[in-house]
């Protein structure tokens, strides 16, 4: 007996069993370390830095002068107006989408998603060129006798560009809500005696309220912390909170003031999210599978809906409402597509023009700027380092995100929400807050200026996409297939290789594509942690766009659009599963 005991106890330390356990422990440590470095520690640093002596010192300083309050007010006003415009455009557009034939709907959805896979800097550059003093907007205004000059740096210009950036974020949740409403319900309401407008307002609209709230909150929250577009188009005249935080850190080196502003932004965002969570399933808005036992009663909106229905009925009685479906939604959808696609089309157009200044009408076509870009070491080097970072960031994000998804599926029910908060955290936080925090961590670790560190930072914002996509893939995966494969004689690894991975592949491929794309497009965190040494494409483009509107930018933008869109079209299934599962703000 004793001999056997000795043998078995020795085995515990020498067999592959032990090695496996040790490997798992190391992996778990690395996994936990990742979230400490890119999420928990950054959050802690932001909050800790905001506290001076006395603790409220920096907060009090913020409110001593009116300027911060003015900027806070301006930021909230901008976010509110952008959200409202997005809603006004998105609701009819989504409605029009539901009425299209499936084929056409797929195509239009693709067109709506096309801008979202195009880098922000490229799109913002497109708007700068469109809205600039020589751009088509000013030209049209001049022709009609209004001397407007450049719209860049004006409030309307900023709103237009922001609406373009965030519109898909509003359309997708609303469309998702509308798509779940069977047409038989509208037919039922009419057979029960409701006039069409009444059926729409009492049966259709209430069921879309959760989608509207989700879309509104997503857009509002992202708009509050948005940096790139306000910095490039709003300029100093339309300064937002994110820009002030950036200036406090990079130019004034005042961490206390910057961190206190970041905390204020964070509190506003979390308050909004908490409010929204009462009315809608926010997990769903972030692309997670719907949480069970969540019932929504939209009683708060009921009086409004009833009043609208009464109005509709009265109007119908007096023949004010036609019984045919209105053409307005289709018109709005066309307007939406125009806003979404015009900067892309303009960027591509500008890249082929021969002059240095962008002016309309275009004077002939030329590949001159393509030659300039492709022979410039600045652009080529930037492309190389960007690709290098994207590959590393996507790899990290894939491994971490996949593990996170598997862990969440296996976790006991009570822990799932907490895990989701942790794994989605980098996406829920305003990007500027995360950037400041990660910058603080990287300073302490001495990582600033290292390309690998930039990749880790990029992975932090890419992980949520991987997490969401894989989690959805796993949710759709029928776990009885594992049992079936096992009953047919397959072992663990064979089941994984022959059954599970092939079925999860679309989710994983989509996740990988979006992780790479996120890195390719990342500017805000990179501006902080690159330390000026890591010149990625977005950094170089941002610098070039602020200096002048050189057509070189249009060329780089066009090449990026071709690269990204070509890749996306190659795997069209990626886009369609993306449309239903996750949203990239």
């Amino acid at each position: 007996m004793a001999a056997i005991d000795i043998v078995s106890s020795r085995n515990r330390f020498t067999t592959p069993h032990f090695v496996r356990r040790a490997a798992i422990a190391c992996a778990a440590l690395a996994f936990a370390g990742f979230f400490v470095v890119v999420f928990l520690w950054p959050l802690f640093i932001v909050i800790a830095s905001s506290l001076g002596s006395p603790p409220w010192q920096h907060y009090a300083a913020n409110f001593e002068t009116a300027s911060v309050l003015v900027i806070l007010w301006r930021t909230i006003r901008m976010a509110t107006i952008v959200s409202l415009f997005c809603l006004i455009l998105a609701y009819p557009s989504a409605l029009a989408l539901t009425r299209l034939s499936p084929r056409l709907r797929g195509l239009v959805l693709l067109l709506i998603l096309l801008p979202t896979v195009t880098p922000y800097v490229v799109r913002t550059y497109g708007w700068m060129a469109l809205l600039g003093a020589n751009g088509p907007f000013s030209s049209v205004l001049r022709l009609s006798g209004i001397e407007s000059g450049s719209l860049v740096g004006t409030f309307p210009g900023l709103i237009l560009a922001m609406v373009h950036m965030l519109l898909p974020l509003m359309i997708l949740p609303i469309f998702a809500a509308m798509r779940t409403i069977p047409t038989s319900q509208i037919a039922a309401a009419q057979s029960l005696g409701a006039v069409p407008a009444e059926a729409f307002l009492k049966v259709f609209v209430p069921q879309t309220v959760s989608g509207v709230i989700a879309g509104f909150v997503l857009v509002f929250v992202v708009a509050l912390g948005f940096f790139i577009t306000p910095a490039m188009i709003g300029g100093l005249r339309e300064t937002t909170l994110a820009m002030v935080i950036y200036i406090y850190i990079t130019e004034l080196f005042d961490w206390g003031r910057a961190a206190s502003l970041a905390v204020i932004l964070l509190v506003v965002v979390l308050a909004m999210l908490a409010l929204a969570a009462r009315a809608t399933d926010l997990w769903k808005a972030y692309g997670l599978p719907a949480s069970p036992n969540k019932r929504q009663r939209d009683n708060s909106t009921r009086p409004i809906v009833n009043a609208l229905a009464r109005l509709a009925r009265a109007a119908a009685k007096h023949g004010l409402l036609g019984s045919k479906p209105s053409r307005i939604p289709t018109g709005v959808l066309l307007l939406t597509l125009t806003i979404l696609l015009s900067p892309l089309i303009f960027v591509v157009g500008v890249s082929f023009q021969p002059q240095r200044l962008i002016a309309l009408p275009l004077h002939g076509l030329s590949l001159r700027w393509y030659e300039v870009v492709l022979s410039s070491t600045r652009w080529i080097d930037a492309a190389a380092i960007t690709l290098q970072i994207a590959v590393l960031a996507a790899s990290i994000a894939l491994i971490v995100g996949y593990t996170a998804a598997v862990l969440t599926r296996r976790a006991p029910h009570g822990m799932r929400s907490a895990l989701c908060v942790l794994f989605l955290g980098p996406q829920i936080l305003p990007l500027i807050v995360l950037a400041v925090g990660i910058y603080g961590v990287f300073i302490r670790l001495g990582w600033v200026g290292s390309w690998a560190a930039v990749a880790i930072a990029h992975a932090s914002v890419a992980v949520p996409y991987v997490f969401v996509n894989v989690l959805n893939g796993l949710a759709r995966y029928n776990s009885r297939l594992d049992a079936a494969a096992a009953s047919l004689g397959a072992r663990g690894w064979t089941i994984m290789r022959r059954v599970k991975l092939p079925l999860l592949l679309p989710s994983i491929a989509t996740a990988a594509a979006f992780a790479a794309l996120t890195s390719l497009d990342e500017l805000v965190i990179t501006l902080f942690v690159s330390g000026g040494d890591v010149q990625t494409l977005p950094i170089v483009m941002y610098g070039a766009a602020i200096q002048d509107l050189s057509p070189e930018l249009a060329v780089v933008g066009t090449l990026l659009i071709v690269l990204v869109v070509g890749g996306a079209l190659l795997g069209r299934f990626m886009l369609s599963s993306y449309a239903t599962s996750s949203v990239r703000p």
Binding site: S191, G193, R313
Partner: protein
């Protein structure tokens, strides 16, 4: 107090309240030209046609549905039966022809003015409203007073036996309960006609049986016209007073279930309603004879005497075929054929045989009244049937 008394008074006789009242729907347009007399005929189709793209869903169809009848529209999927329902409800407009509800043409009348009750296949309950709110919906849109709505909802809840579930949401109900809500909601405004689209499709077998009985009882109590669509022939035959068998957008045959079963006019109807042997022969002076063997399939030339020499099929129900003793006497009118048992299904009181004969494989249903043993597989049998009970088919 008065309200309580009122609602209680209603509770005593829920049916009375839902008893006939003039239809809430009063269409503003009246086309009375050539319309049938009201009251007797609830729904009349006159040469109605409807196509979706290249598909002719309903093809020049005329049909009268009498008031108070329980009618089943029966046919395979894609035969146009649901389109027919949609034409009555107003969800689709006929390309040609006309439809009359209670003697009034409903051309151009939108669904919300037709006052017809519809129970949808997926029930189409409003998920954001409670059961009571679902039931109240048609009354609210009719601008009824709150107190009146409350009383009527209570009555309706009682009628469909959901008294305590008014506060529940549809997703908290079982399939059978959801269907009762859908029924109550479609009946609460006292429509003269109730349309049901595959009402039992989503229910499991046992629940289906009990809901069928319940629906039948409801029809008897309310006395209004029920029209329901189904592809299940058993369901159609157990429930309906009149079955309309449809195929390819046209009516194949209509009539009482028993008449349809006993006297099918076409091979489609014969094959669709229960098991049936369809045997091809040709008309002779004796009746209809099988060409190769000369076996008499049908003994009579009534109505087909002018078709002598032409090919004609007959329908022979499996239960009309009997097993004869090997050398017993053959009665007059009896047709006899020999065969080998190739397939045998035991169904409790009955045994279903497939017997290979010179007429082809015949289905034979043997009733084991005394629990006697069934023939064995591969045994040879002598089969016989009364040649007057077979039905000559038109096609």
């Amino acid at each position: 107090m008065t309200l309580m008394q009122r609602s209680q008074a209603k509770k005593i006789s829920p049916v009375a309240r839902l008893q006939r009242r003039p239809a809430a729907a009063t269409s503003p347009k009246k086309h009375n030209n050539g319309a049938p007399t009201p009251s007797a005929i609830a729904v009349r189709f006159v040469d109605a046609a409807k196509s979706y793209g290249p598909v002719q869903a309903v093809n020049n169809l005329s049909l009268d549905i009498n008031a108070g009848q329980f009618v089943a529209l029966l046919g395979p999927s894609g035969c146009g039966k649901t389109t027919l329902l949609n034409l009555v409800a107003g969800f689709a407009a006929p390309d040609r022809g006309d439809i009359f509800i209670n003697g009034r043409s409903v051309r151009g009348v939108p669904p919300h003015e037709r006052g017809v009750g519809v129970v949808f296949q997926d029930y189409a309950l409003f998920p954001h409203m409670s059961v009571a709110e679902n039931l109240a919906f048609p009354l609210e849109v009719r601008g009824m007073q709150r107190a009146e709505i409350k009383a009527r909802v209570e009555t309706a809840l009682n009628l469909v036996r959901l008294d305590d579930l008014g506060g529940r949401r549809p997703d908290q109900l079982s399939g059978g309960q959801q269907q009762r809500v859908a029924l109550g909601r479609a009946l609460i405004y006292e429509p003269p006609i109730l349309l049901l689209d595959e009402p039992f499709g989503a229910l499991d077998r046992r629940l289906r049986d009990s809901m069928q009985l319940e629906l039948k009882a409801l029809h008897r109590r309310l006395g209004i016209t029920f029209v329901f669509v189904t592809h299940d022939q058993d369901e159609a035959m157990t429930m309906a007073d009149m079955v309309v068998v449809m195929q390819a957008g046209q009516i194949q045959q209509q009539g009482a279930p028993m008449a349809l079963y006993d006297r099918p006019r076409t091979s489609f109807v014969a094959g669709f309603l229960g098991d049936c042997n369809l045997i091809k022969g040709h008309v002779t002076t004796a009746g209809i004879q099988h060409a190769a063997s000369g076996v008499l399939l049908h003994r009579s030339v009534d109505g087909i005497s002018n078709q002598i020499g032409l090919a004609k099929a007959v329908a022979l129900r499996p239960e009309l075929i009997g097993v004869l003793s090997p050398h017993g006497r053959v009665r007059p009118d009896q047709s006899v054929v020999k065969g080998r048992v190739v397939q045998l299904r035991f169904l409790g009181r009955e045994v279903m045989l497939e017997v290979e004969t010179e007429l082809g494989v015949l289905l034979v249903r043997l009733h084991r009244a005394g629990g006697e043993s069934a023939p064995e597989l591969n045994s040879t049998l002598r089969l016989g049937w009364d040649a007057k009970t077979t039905v000559p088919l038109e096609d």
